[in-house]
Chain length 205, copies 2
DNA sequence: CAAACTTACTGAACAGTGTTTAGCAAACAA
DNA sequence: TTGTTTGCTAAACACTGTTCAGTAAGTTTG
């Protein structure tokens, strides 16, 4: 009686098929131009079918947002090799920036768009992916404090400040609020601002 | 022959009527639920009429975004009284944060939504409102440098770093990425993070 | 004043959106 | 071979932004 197991498996495959089609269209055209009908066309099913596997578009976006988090975490793997926690912190920031610039749509989905978060809100769920990622940062900051590399002793506060700065520059860039600096200067300026921030952590501005 | 003048005046009044109706609905229901038809209903005109005064929805959003900037600048007026440029900088940050928390939809329109910026892009225009606001910050930072209150000597870089941090915390909050801290802790945490940032500017983290 | 022209506005349509539902055919269980 | 469940879809609903032909009023001209 392996039928229910097979059904379960088929169901998961269908969810994956939808998700990957959505991801493909999403990365190719940007999230604004991805409609349920587009995705349905892509996988050669009716639009209504998608609703048998995902409650609504927000839930689909939430699943995409989760996939983006696993990608970010993968790209963070190399930092485990770094001994010094402050160097680790700096490299985390650099990789975070790099990820955002290389995957603007994914970053948007993870940290700017409200769509994925809306499903959490209406399910009274917590944002586990985000919380987990924040705790990774907080642990590194705590390690810095423990080794006397940072004098401020509240790791949570310090982590929020650091995340805010890095997110800030990325968010301004992705939502085209740095256009006044000119297209050719923006990316270098972002990097310089990040480096200046690191220097400021060490010795003040 | 004051007819063309009167017509011009009536045109401006109509633009204002549309803008204020849009603003009202916008602040009451959030931008996602404001449609051209809603606005048309509000002012008791046909939806098509709105297109005689604004090219498209983005242009209307751009006009709203401009109005929000004049509001922000108004709220920044008191900082002119402050002598010490570093105190000025701190107060600017505080007012910026306050504005964002008090007017989340306006802040979103100014610094997060892409809609208003899209009209600039397709007109090959520059973001004057944003650039002007940034220069206000940059001037204060430059004054700090000139008085030896900040040691880093590139005011543009330093300003971008400061703006990024403050925008970052606001953007994370407005897009509900700080939910893990609990509704009651978020606002205090934001303020603490900001104060920690100021302290970091002075002496490092 | 009447005719010609201009302007301001609108009803209706177009092409799209997310989402729901009734119904149908195939797969399964009895 | 029945009866039941499952997977899927066509069609519709209620929206969205936007365009355009047509109308009625305002304005200018003869």
């Amino acid at each position: 009686m392996g039928i229910v197991e097979r059904k379960e498996r088929e169901r998961e495959e269908m969810r994956k098929l939808i998700l990957e089609a959505a991801q493909k269209l999403f990365l190719a055209n940007g999230y604004e131009k991805v409609s349920i009908r587009n995705i349905a066309d892509e996988i050669e099913y009716s639009p209504a079918t998608i609703y048998l596997y995902y409650k609504d578009k927000n839930e689909l976006f939430f699943a995409l947002h989760q996939a983006a988090f696993t990608k970010l975490i993968q790209e963070f793997a190399p930092i485990a090799q770094i001994e010094n926690p402050f160097d680790k912190l700096v490299e985390m920031g650099r990789l975070y920036l790099k990820f955002a610039v290389a995957n603007p749509e994914l970053y948007d989905l993870m940290f700017i768009m409200t769509a994925p978060i809306d499903t959490l809100d209406c399910r009274n769920d917590v944002w586990e992916d985000g919380h987990h990622a924040f705790l990774v940062l907080q642990n590194v900051v705590q390690a810095c404090i423990d080794m006397g590399l940072l004098k401020h002793n509240d790791a949570e506060q310090a982590s929020l400040m650091i995340w805010s700065m890095v997110h800030g520059i990325v968010a301004l860039f992705l939502r085209r609020r740095l256009s006044m600096f000119g297209d050719d200067r923006v990316i270098p300026l972002m990097e310089e601002s990040f480096l200046l921030f690191i220097k400021t952590l060490e010795t003040g501005l």
